[in-house]
Amino acid sequence: MRIAVGQGSCGIAAGAAKVCAALQEQLPPNVKLGTVGCIGMCWLEPIVDIYDDDNTLLHRLVRVRPEDAARILKWTQDGEDFNIMDLIIGKDDAQFLTQQTRIALRNCGLIDPESIESALAAGGYSAVGRILSADSGMTPEEVIECIKVSGLAGRGGAGFPTWFKWNAARQSPGNEKYLICNADEGDPGAFMDRAVIESDPHTLIEGMLIGAYAIGAQEAIVYVRAEYPLAIRRLEHAIEEARAAGYIGKNIMGSDFSCEFRIKAGAGAFVCGEETALIESLQGQRGMPRLKPPFPAEAGYWNQPSNINNVETFANVAWIINNGGEAFAAMGTADSKGTKVFALTGKIRRGGLVEIPMGMTLRQVIFDIGGGIRDGKAFKAVQMGGPSGGCIPAELLDTVIDYKKLAATGAIMGSGGMVVMDADTCMVSMAKFFLDFTAKESCGKCVHCRIGTKRLQEILTRIVEGNGRAGDIELLEELCLAVRDGALCGLGQTAPNPVLSTLRYFRDEFEAHIRDKQCPAHSCTALLRYGIDADTCRGCTLCAKKCPVSAISGTAKNAHRIDPDICVRCGACYAVCKFGAVRKL
């Protein structure tokens, strides 16, 4: 029997390492204990899987605490379900996985990320073996054709056809070429790349090897966020293992193909997700975008032909080679093929990693898989594409997931962040949040982006602080268009999207802030008023005792009252009232 503890970054933060240590301490000799990556059911962490000797999953245990170790191990000896009943995953929760189609995440949470044997047993490096095979191998052109047939498009956000970039880099003259993986996952709210690297690094390496073979690169570089220390450690280890096993280095698997790998840790700059800025950063410079053309395929890293793809894009490649481009293209819509991974977070009941075929609707992802909104509240909007994307309101929940259909809503597919919001989220404040982010992350090269985002941020700030002026909405719109048209790179061109999309669907909220000095979501502190409902108040005096500024008056057993001139809107009374008598007005 084998016990596997899910230990991605979030699993460890939820206590998985302590669970693992507790199991280790009391481990019977006939049970093996191992580590797996993240299965993506984040709300159930820490997760412990029990397999029999034939690798069949016997039980998936969830929300396991270190003190549960003894009874779990007892179960491995007596098989008495009764003792661990409360830990076994519920039917509802288990549906989270059964509704998904996993390609990029195919091994995540199932294999040991620190063991190449585990990856090989799951079919790792078989696609590299296939293309390099002496008698039945594939030429680089055949590999590119296979990717073309699959319809794979860049999963980092822009959705550019992968084969086209590979082909352009292949066709570029020169012998020194580079293949680069963009693992600088900067979108706030997205963590699929981290999960893939932490859970299944060999799949990334294999995808990159195939890409390097296709374009003719001798060196592959992974540019990964320094904020992901565990991902970096596991990837370093995987590269060493792959090198020792002959998958990296000279004459891979006895062929003429040679490729070296290295990791470069980013230093924290969102703009480095833009490919030319990433190249500048790789060269040890400030990460400021270059004018295109020339494209990286012609003159990239050190001015040599280079190709850059995202982690998730590479994670699909080996599967496509093994199963054929047609199998991948059979999934999805006319415009968008295959699957997409989303990081489902925010006010969602079941938050985690979701991989679904393109063409599913947002409603299916959020409600059927994600279980809808937490605490029974109403769905308000879903934010997709992070600071470059937009909010999609409830009336568009039946939009299908497809690059073009999502773009038509004003949001974008993006790298896969899907942050769900309920009625308590203020959309003006959300727009301000993203502009705070882009204003800070603007590299400063283009005037429209550098100053325009700052001005947008200032206007949004005064609106949420209750100082909005007539004409501010029109000014926002005018500025948004100027920034979009006047910026060189994707960061600047898309920076206005969060403002434009919230204005499009939630214009009334902007108007309420400016004209009525009201925040309909009762979220903006400056516009918030607290009051006590006289009929509900029991006169328990608790709120008056908790008020830090003595703004609440009243005697025991009689309704209390808040003096709005003294109130500092700290919310202490609201939090403490047991009868729901304190209301946000």
Binding site: K264, L282, G284, T345, G351, V419
Partner: protein, 166 residues
């Protein structure tokens, strides 16, 4: 007036192995700065001058690169670096309240260090643990599903541990 770079006296010999490995490798400036920060905990001005000299470039260029990236610090940090996530998911789930509680309890603003040198507070973009939002990292440890109370409890635990050691 004396130049700031001559006032700072860092032990530059600690950097020698890093420079020996990377100084002549093109495009390695960020790597050198990262290793320097690992050694000193921050980037003192004399270290920046030293790196410029050893890599054959100007201090202005080194500083230009270093200030571009949020990872680099130009002041010493406390023994415990609190990185409070303000990514979208954490923001929606109330990271602002955690930030307010930490600021009030530690009497420190974002980017600052407490008077006793124990804590530095840094509000950062997404840490990629969105499902546990709101999240913070204290040095290498990640804490999730925070409330203002639980965040303060973590601070108090650390303070108690430090007091016991002292």
């Amino acid at each position: 007036m004396e130049c700031a770079c001559t006032k700072q006296k860092s032990d530059l010999s600690l950097l020698a192995p890093v420079l020996a490995e990377y100084a002549s490798v093109r495009g390695s400036l960020i790597t050198i700065l990262q290793k320097a920060q690992e050694i000193y905990g921050w980037l003192p001005v004399d270290v920046i001058y030293h790196i410029a000299e050893q890599t054959g470039t100007t201090p202005a260029r080194v500083l230009g690169v270093a200030t571009f990236y949020t990872q680099f610090r130009f002041q010493p940090v406390g023994k415990y670096l609190i990185m409070l996530c303000d990514g979208t998911a954490c923001h929606v789930n109330g990271s602002a309240a955690i930030a307010a509680a930490l600021r009030e309890y530690l009497h420190v603003e974002n980017g600052g260090t407490t008077a006793d040198g124990l804590f530095s507070l840094s509000i950062v973009a997404c840490l990629g643990c969105c499902s546990l939002s709101p999240v913070m990292m204290v040095n290498e440890d990640t804490y999730g599903s925070l409330t203002p109370q639980s965040a303060l409890a973590i601070m108090k635990d650390i303070q108690a541990k430090e007091a016991a050691q002292a």
